[in-house]
């Protein structure tokens, strides 16, 4: 399969490496092969690469180098944030989160409940956003931690982290933000947003798979109100690297790749997101113009630039997805999150926004990225409309009026 044959509209699932990232990784693999924890020249050289990368990530989120804890990915970061805070706090743990969180959060919270923690899951409105008053009320009840995803992976809906952070600060409850989908797309300022923990993923921003980070607020910053250092118990033990927050040999090339991607996206973020928003809106206009019975999920004003989630009437969701990805030209999109797709889970995110089971099941997620352009958007719209029409024709009189 050559790159030209597939229309790739699945950047929320994963992204190709950003320009320059592969070169950085290759250089580091060849020249900085030492174990960064080793006390010799090759080890120190590797450690220096890691320090540079930490600086790049810290800059992207308005934090400091030493706050960056490297993990194997956002899933692990989220596990570390939730379990680490729960373990450190001990006693009566109460975590407040949202029904539309990623499986990494929901499954970890479910496990913490088996260990005796209390969990409150806030509902969302038809636009996919939580209600500030509901959060406020939940925080009256002795909360240990609030955990919220900044941008939803299925719909692209953006939560108002600034307001949420302010609410958490008022209640003196630390805030963990799952920024796996928002890093490099939305502006993040951990101080202004009162964020104590931030989970990040490299392969969503043009970095390699298998590396992520958790930003951990280490101490009160000077100037604007920041907050106390967050207490966190490491979950992966052995050797005490990274101040004991996360042991294990650091993968220098992976971290360098993450840093290079972070640097690249810092320079380009705003213009790129504006470009993608325009393309995404054009994609919707073409599809909406060509088809009846299609509906956009997530209020347009609060959906991150790359996302277009469309529910389609009169087709079976599985047939639509397979028709798009297996036919020609292949249109790489998703229905539901990539992670839950293989397990046949229906979209709990869309159900939480009030969509019927049928609508939720027949939903396609387009997520745009670096290689998206007018030509591809036109081709994708055309292909999408053609497949929907084909399937509706196959259904004939069975399609509900």
């Amino acid at each position: 399969m050559s790159a030209g044959e597939t229309l790739y509209f699945d950047h929320a699932a994963t992204t190709p490496l950003a320009p320059g990232v592969l070169d950085v990784m290759q250089r580091v693999l060849a020249e900085q092969a030492g174990n960064p924890a080793s006390d010799h020249a090759p080890g120190r050289a590797a450690a220096a690469e890691i320090d540079t990368a930490a600086g790049a990530l810290a800059a992207l989120v308005g934090g400091e180098r030493r706050g960056v804890v490297w993990t194997s990915g956002a899933t692990e970061s989220i596990n570390l944030a939730l379990k680490g805070v729960a373990e450190f706090a001990g006693g009566d743990v109460h975590i407040v989160s949202v029904v539309t969180e990623h499986a990494a959060t929901l499954d970890t919270l479910a496990w913490l409940q088996t260990q005796g923690a209390r969990v409150t899951r806030l509902e969302v409105d038809a636009d996919g956003r939580i209600d500030g008053a509901a959060l406020d009320a939940a925080l009256q009840d002795n909360a240990t931690l609030v955990s919220i995803m900044h941008v939803n992976n299925e719909t692209g809906v953006i939560q108002d982290i600034e307001a949420i952070g302010a609410c958490c600060a008022r209640h003196h409850v630390p805030l963990h933000v799952d920024a796996a989908q928002s890093l490099g797309r939305c502006a993040i300022d951990i101080t202004a947003m009162n964020i104590a923990l931030l989970s990040m993923s490299a392969h969503k921003i043009g970095g390699p798979k298998g590396i992520g980070a958790l930003y951990v607020r280490r101490r009160s910053g000077a100037g604007r109100a920041a907050g106390p250092a967050i207490g966190l118990a490491g979950q992966i033990h052995g050797g005490g690297q990274q101040s004991g927050f996360r042991s294990g040999t650091l993968a220098t090339h992976q971290i360098a790749g993450f840093g290079a991607a972070a640097t690249y996206v810092t320079t380009n973020r705003e213009t790129e997101q504006r470009r993608l928003a325009a393309l995404r809106d054009a994609l919707w206009r073409r599809i909406d113009g060509a088809l009846d019975g299609v509906r956009r999920n997530g209020g347009a004003a609060v959906v991150a630039a790359p996302w277009l989630s469309i529910s389609v009437a009169g087709v079976n969701g599985d047939a639509l997805l397979k028709g798009l990805v297996e036919g020609a030209p292949a249109l790489a999109v998703s229905s539901g999150a990539a992670c839950s797709a293989a397990h046949g889970q229906s979209s709990y995110v869309l159900r939480a926004m009030g969509r019927s089971a049928a609508e939720a099941a027949a939903t396609i997620r387009f997520s745009l990225g670096a290689d998206s352009n007018d030509t591809r958007v036109n081709a994708a719209a055309h292909r999408f409309a053609a497949e929907v029409e084909r399937l509706r024709a196959l259904a004939g009189t069975l399609v509900a009026a």
């Binding site: 009169g314 047939a319 397979k322 297996e326």
Partner: protein, 136 residues
């Protein structure tokens, strides 16, 4: 480099081409009047199927099916089963059609056990179509 296990994890099902380009859909077909039509559904799998059959005469078990077409609103495997069934039905006698087993479809399309419902669905619709043709 070996590719053991690759088949299980990632192979395209043998019936995919039928799903992508079915020849027997009613939409593809000029016939408006059918001798028999039967509807079945499997709500748990979000699948609905209508089978339409045309015949050469209206007497006894020697009657042959001249034409068959389908409508399906459902997953790819259901569309594939319906397409295969309609192709298979052409020139079969009503007796042969009535004897078609789920296993035959499963074998022909190499269907996984979890997708068995699709074979059951189209046979269910076929049985009703045959009964409908009998009644007329």
């Amino acid at each position: 480099m070996t590719t053991h296990g690759a088949k299980n994890a990632s192979a395209v099902p043998v019936w995919m081409s039928r799903f992508l380009g079915p020849a027997q859909s009613a939409a593809n077909c000029d016939i408006i009047e059918w001798h028999g039509m039967g509807f079945a559904d499997t709500p748990a799998s979000d699948a609905q199927c209508r089978i339409m059959i045309g015949m050469d005469s209206e007497a006894g078990a020697d009657v042959r099916i001249t034409r068959a077409a389908f409508e399906v609103l459902g997953p790819p495997v259901a569309i594939a089963c319906a397409d295969w069934l309609c192709e298979w039905l052409e020139h079969r006698t009503v007796g042969e059609a009535g004897d078609l087993s789920v296993t035959a479809i499963e074998k022909a399309l190499e269907i996984a056990p979890s997708q068995r419902y699709a074979a059951l669905l189209v046979i269910d619709a076929l049985v009703k179509a045959l009964a409908d043709a009998q009644d007329k």
